[in-house]
């Protein structure tokens, strides 16, 4: 796919890669890969996990050397970069996992290790000078926080701005954003996209890596698609669209998004009902919610709107300050996660690696963990029963691993998430709560997880899906509840599904409904 770049036709590229190849034992990570980045150009870089994006980043960062090919930066050709060259030529990274010191303030983070010092033998930090240096940087990224703010008090988007300010402070000419929005809610994503536009206006190039294709659609001047380590194609600005990117990424069309309007499902009976629940985060805001059998209820809202807190209370991890919960019409008192699990209420938590699975245990051990007594005789674990369950789930869910004895930590994100799902599917779920179930997961695995959620709903399970991914919420849910500052601001039925409506409710405004007597409570 050849494209004619219309944005900066006459400028020499800041960076160009030519026929770059990199192999690891047994794997060709990158092959015959070429691309160019011009000053002030925003490149969207997409590809499934394992397509070679990380390798490419490592080469640009000087962490790893290509086996062959040329990397030309600012007119100077290299066989490969070293870290100093990468930094020295103005290539800056903002990683998905932020590298900030949460206990220090913004200014200290931006100039960490390069603080201006006062004269004298004590080498004290010159705070006044530091603030002076930070102020213009914060202004450039459009920060709405002060240089003295402790990083821990900032939202994720604000922390990302700190990272970008840090990149600008070393006079970056190319900023590489590695999945910056994957954990950002809608409104904050907007801010970040604005920052990208700001960088572009200053003539700084941006490589924007994201799984959220609609964001790429909005900011990229050009899209580079990687597949299996090779260039699958390049899309010029007018060619960029969602379906085309997906087609190039996976080499075929994918019906990832179910289309609305298929025969409306008859809503099942109410499985879980929460009435006037108060969480410790919003102790003065009661939340009520009904979850029916056989439906996927999407729970949208900004980060910090209280969705995860609600899920944690329903699952018994956090204390319920007030209100009551019924399961199948009967009052239910969930005092711990163990109670929730005993009643068939399961949670796939937001943070897979910290709370979803035990990385050091095998797949089989993770799957049996919540239901270990059922895999034991006289309190002794029966390895046979454990392996049988795991094998069955591995097959059902298509977990890609050499064996069920494989350590879970070695699996890809998508497969780890499947293990989390498998441990609950091996039991008998009544209510399944999934908190950001597809975060950091590649498109193929995403589709599989959507399929699993739908299969659960079809089997009569009540599914509650918390998601900050707009496409996902709209594409997957049967109904969408939106939270705003600790309360449900509205519930949308299918006919009212739109990004606009979700966003309006998320910021506490009234949605535009087809029927006047719509779902707003």
């Amino acid at each position: 796919m050849i494209s004619i770049d219309t944005t900066h036709p006459n400028t020499a590229p800041f960076l160009s890669l030519e026929a770059v190849r990199k192999t690891y034992p047994g794997v060709v990570a990158l092959d015959r890969f070429s691309m160019e980045v011009r000053p002030g150009e925003v490149i969207g870089l997409v590809g499934e996990n394992g397509a070679g994006k990380s390798t490419l980043m490592k080469i640009l960062g000087g962490v790893t050397r290509p086996d062959s090919g040329t990397v030309t930066v600012d007119g100077a050709a290299h066989d490969g970069l070293i870290v100093e060259q990468s930094i020295g030529s103005g290539i800056a990274f903002v990683h998905q996992e932020l590298n900030l010191f949460e206990n220090l303030d913004v200014a200290a983070n931006i100039f960490f290790g390069r603080e201006p010092l006062r004269a004298g033998p004590l080498k004290l930090v010159d705070r006044a000078k530091l603030r002076e240096m930070v102020a213009p940087l914060l202004k450039r990224v459009g920060a709405n926080f002060s240089a003295d703010a402790p990083v821990a008090s900032l939202s994720l988007a604000q922390q990302q701005m700190v990272e970008i300010a840090k990149a600008l402070s070393i006079k970056a000419r190319l900023v590489i954003l590695d999945e910056p929005t994957s954990s950002l809610p809608i409104a904050e994503t907007e801010k970040l996209l604005d920052v990208i536009k700001g960088l572009k206006a200053e003539g700084i190039s941006v490589i924007f890596i994201s799984h959220r294709l609609h964001e790429i659609e909005r900011v990229a001047d050009r899209v580079v698609v990687l597949r299996d380590g090779t260039l699958a194609g390049t899309l010029a600005k007018h060619q960029i669209n969602h379906d085309e990117m997906v087609r190039l990424m996976i080499g075929r069309m994918l019906k990832e998004r179910e289309k609305a309007g298929e025969a409306a499902r008859a809503p099942g009976s109410v499985a879980l009902s929460a009435h006037a629940i108060r969480t410790s985060t919003y102790p003065d805001r009661p939340v009520s919610l009904e979850l029916r059998r056989g439906e996927i209820l999407g729970l949208a809202g900004l980060v910090g709107s209280g969705r995860t807190e609600l899920a944690r209370v329903l699952f018994g991890i956090d204390e319920r300050l007030a209100g009551n919960v019924t399961l199948d019409g009967k009052p239910l008192d969930v005092g711990s996660a163990a109670d929730a699990v005993a009643n068939g209420i399961f949670l796939v938590p937001e943070d897979r690696k910290l709370t979803g699975i035990l990385l050091d245990l095998s797949i089989a051990q993770n799957i049996s963990l919540p239901n270990l007594p059922a895999h034991a005789r006289r309190s002794l674990v029966s390895t046979g029963a454990e392996l049988a369950t795991a094998e069955k789930q591995k097959k059902n869910l298509g977990i890609k691993a050499p064996s069920v004895l494989t350590r879970t930590g070695t699996l890809s994100g998508g497969n780890q998430q499947k293990v989390v799902l498998a441990k609950w599917l091996a039991m008998d779920p009544k209510v399944m709560i999934l908190d950001e179930p597809t975060r950091g997961i590649d498109i193929g695995a995403k589709a599989e997880i959507y399929g699993l959620m739908r299969a659960l709903a079809d089997a009569g399970v009540a599914v509650l899906m918390i998601s900050s991914d707009m496409e996902e919420v709209i594409g997957v849910s049967d109904r969408i509840a939106v939270m705003h500052e600790g309360q449900i601001s509205g519930i949308l039925d299918r006919q009212d599904f739109s990004q606009e409506n979700v966003l309006l409710l998320a910021v506490g405004k009234k949605p535009k409904l087809l029927q006047a007597a719509g779902g707003v409570e």
Binding site: F315, A337, P349, L354, I357, L359, L372, S379
Partner: protein, 331 residues
């Protein structure tokens, strides 16, 4: 038996062979019986500690507990004339209660294990000294408990009964740690307590149980130690025993971060520590150097283990690179 345990066993055998070569008395019946008795006493203690360490916790109060419970036990049977099986059970129950309180403070009130058990270390030592008015608890002249003495300090066919007790306890605890649902929970919590909780495990109960087990085993060893020394001065009895127990677990491959270690490992760790003590005596090394020898060996052991891990990782990487280099020109 894991590779780590095997390495430890080989180390024990090598040290034993060297000591025997220098001083053949190492293998004399009397020395072996004495040493195995000490292995048993410290072994029971260390198994208890291991259960706490596997959850990522630590129990620093066991030395003081041995003083307090030992004092109480001797006081019960020698002064208050409680019949000994009852006193025996009472002491175990007391150990369980103290373990439970520690567990409760740690899981419910969210105090750090180090802090809770450090306070225990100070409190129990103080109480024990107060209880005897800083005197000595011991038996009156001619006072006899033939059954109890046989069970604790006696021998069957030359093997100390305490050692037989250790073997029975080890087997039971091996099953509990390595085969039971509870044992799996312990490892899971040690690896990642949050994730275990999110899997519906009642982590508070499991962790508290670990402290209860530690309390009971400590109480049991307190009785053995009391019957071994037959007189207790609470100011010094059992001092630093918590460190022996922790050292045994660390030597045996336990990580203080939790989630790692085996029962065989902690037993072998105890054996090695006692062998070193024995070595100091048999080789005529000044006994004041006792702790220094022990500390040195533990440090070297941990260092070798860690460096071996680094070496293996590096070798793997080198091999991978070599394959890579060899494979590249072919294409």
């Amino acid at each position: 038996m894991s590779k780590k345990d095997l390495g430890l066993l080989i180390l024990i055998l090598v040290v034993g062979a060297v000591v025997t070569a220098i001083n053949p008395r190492f293998l004399s019946t009397i020395n072996l019986a004495n040493t195995s008795n000490l292995v048993a006493l410290f072994g029971i203690l260390s198994i208890g500690q291991a259960f706490v360490i596997i959850t990522g916790g630590i129990e620093l109060s066991v030395g003081s507990l041995i003083a307090l419970l030992g004092t109480l036990f001797i006081d019960f049977i020698a002064v208050r004339e409680v019949n000994w099986p009852l006193a025996f059970v009472l002491i175990l129950v007391l150990g369980a209660i103290i373990g439970f309180v520690h567990g409760w403070l740690i899981t419910r009130l969210k105090l750090q294990p180090f802090v809770v058990t450090l306070c225990g270390l100070l409190i129990y030592r103080g109480v024990a000294r107060f209880y005897t008015a800083d005197g000595t608890a011991g038996f009156a002249f001619g006072q006899n408990f033939p059954d109890l003495e046989f069970l604790t300090a006696g021998r069957s066919g030359g093997v100390p009964n305490s050692f037989i007790a250790l073997i029975v306890i080890s087997i039971v605890m091996w099953v509990v740690l390595h085969r039971s649902v509870f044992g799996r929970y312990l490892y899971a919590i040690g690896k990642n307590e949050e994730a275990a909780k999110y899997s519906g495990i009642r982590t508070d109960r499991v962790v508290t149980s670990a402290y209860v087990i530690c309390g009971v085993l400590t109480a049991l060893s307190a009785i053995y130690f009391a019957m071994y020394t037959r007189s207790i001065s609470p100011a010094s009895h059992g001092q630093f025993y918590e460190l022996y127990a922790i050292a045994a677990a660390v030597l045996g491959g336990f990580s203080l971060r939790g989630g790692e270690g085996s029962l065989v490992g902690v037993i072998l760790g105890t054996v090695l520590l006692q062998e070193l003590q024995n070595l100091v005596n048999l080789l005529g090394i000044p006994s004041s150097l006792n702790f220094a020898v022990m500390g040195g060996v533990i440090l070297i052991g941990v260092l070798v283990d860690q460096q071996w891990g680094v070496f293996r990782a590096r070798r793997r990487m080198m091999e991978a690179t070599r394959q890579n280099v060899a494979g590249a020109p072919a294409e």
